[in-house]
């Protein structure tokens, strides 16, 4: 199927039309981004938390444990956001 001609724009030299330019792979990956994986490890394997005891205020472990991960996840993601803020 053909290329859509869209963004190679009008007349002026187009700064993006450089298919031959070698990609430098500017990924800027920072190790602090790995904090984003922690909520996945904490909540996705249910065998870690699939029990009723101990319960808090009548709420079985299965429920409060997962609810507890919401503030943890917000905190971790916010830490990554602050640490990488302004970086591109």
């Amino acid at each position: 199927m053909s290329e859509h001609p869209k963004h190679s724009s009008s007349g002026q030299p187009d700064p993006t039309a450089r298919p031959a330019r070698p990609r430098s792979g500017r990924l800027n990956f920072r190790p602090i981004n790995l904090l984003l994986l922690i909520p996945l490890i904490g909540t996705l394997p249910p065998m870690f938390y699939n029990r009723t005891a101990p319960s808090i205020g009548g709420m079985p472990f299965f429920y409060w444990y997962q609810l507890l991960w919401i503030p943890i996840s917000v905190t971790l993601t916010y830490v990554v956001y602050r640490a990488t803020r302004g970086e591109r």
Partner: protein, 537 residues
Amino acid sequence: MNGVEFGIVIALFALVTGIGFVAARWRRAGTLHHLDEWGLGGRSFGTWVTWFLVGGDLYTAYTFVAVPALVFGVGALGFFAVPYTIVAYPIVFLAAARLWSVAHRQGYVTAADFVRGRHGSSALGVAIALTGIVATMPYIALQMVGIQAVIEAIGITSNHWPLVIAFVVLAAYTYSSGLRAPALIAFVKDTLIYVVVIVAVIYIPYKLGGYDKIFSAAAKALPAKPSKGALTLHNSQYLAYSTLAFGSALALFLYPHAVTGVLAAKSRDTVKRNMSLLPAYSLMLGFLALLGYMAIAAGITPAKGTNGKPDSNTIVPVLFDHQFPSWFAGIAFGAIAIGALVPAAIMSIAAANTFTRDIYLPYLRPTASAREEAQVSKIVSLLVKFGALLVILFINVQFALDFQLIGGIIIIQILPAVVFGLYTRWFHRWALLAGWAAGIAISIWMLWYVPNPLTNHKHFGGAQWALSHIGLDTKSAIWIGIPTVVINIVLAAALTPVFARLPRGIDHTDESDYHAEAGDAKVGSLPVSPGQEAVTT
């Protein structure tokens, strides 16, 4: 029929209708005759508006009625919505920022726009666009299930007129105000929902004698249900729980309406900050899910639906009706009904933008002006809502429900082209298309073998595929989207070297685009609209 409840719902509905029309003039930048204005609210929303808009978009009325109904029916398995919405944001945190940047630079309005520009393939763009539209349509129809549940709980079971009127009004202000309407209404919606949920999780347990009593009532009642549920998962449900949560999280931000919410943000920083703040909604969702157990403890039986059978989606409205005084039940019902309008508006706008930019523009009218683009999008948004209404009125709700289960499985198949595309051009465009086609085909084939014992459907009865199909001696099942997206990825990777001799598409993006922030110049700078660019080349 309860007059007080009905009156309050009508009053709230009138309020948001007014807001919907006034929104056309909110933060307006000259003209609405441009897709950036009508379809993305001028790409101008800051942290607060984005938070309400995306939250109002993703946590829909259907979520509010269906998640508690699922917990009511099957117990612990229904709680998957909590890990699902916990992991979704960390997963998309990095990719969403890159998508915002490249879309800002290149003027992309949809994910399919990006795919077409990145991989230089209109065919792949259309595949992504069609996938998005097909996955979104039943979702819009489901929003009507939320409104219908409220209407039934108030006691109007005999006709569809309230639903039709609600959608006609919604269609009218979406047409005139575009994305600004749901963005403004989302403030009302979420404020009401938060108030209702906070009151519900304190007041209802207080009336029922505490969480202790609620959970013990659920522990007694669940094993007797057809699903043989429990307060915790059976071992055989682990795989289903994990894959459902993980897969739904991967799928969430691939939906056109989620992309629309992200791209309407005014800066890359706004997107990243929102990804860290949005999980706050999950807390509300978690407590909402527990309303299912409160309904069990309160001895709620579902109200009859328009088909005369008990409709389990009514348990939350019926619970509110029983537990709250009429005036507060009215507010709660209003909150749910408005909760349906916001996502329905955003979804129809997103589907319309996708049609316009990725099907109409490249294939039907490459010379369309920016004004024509906006006009086509507005008309398509009407057609989309009308189509969803017809599905509910003339086919049936169960069809929409079954289809929505399939929606996530279908939409996840665009992940390699979109998400991998944000990071690499290693994959060949034809390999990505082949992987996508195989992923969809195998998903549908697997879905065919899923029965639904509750509705006596033999096929397309759910999204969980029993591992016994491949000869494993187990009761475990897996959410179909996970194995099929893996096949999709493996195939795309395997075919990339095979297709190496075929021409690669031209990449219209530059590496620096993926890091752009607001204020950086857009490509092909300013007054040239996307439509005009197509003419000049």
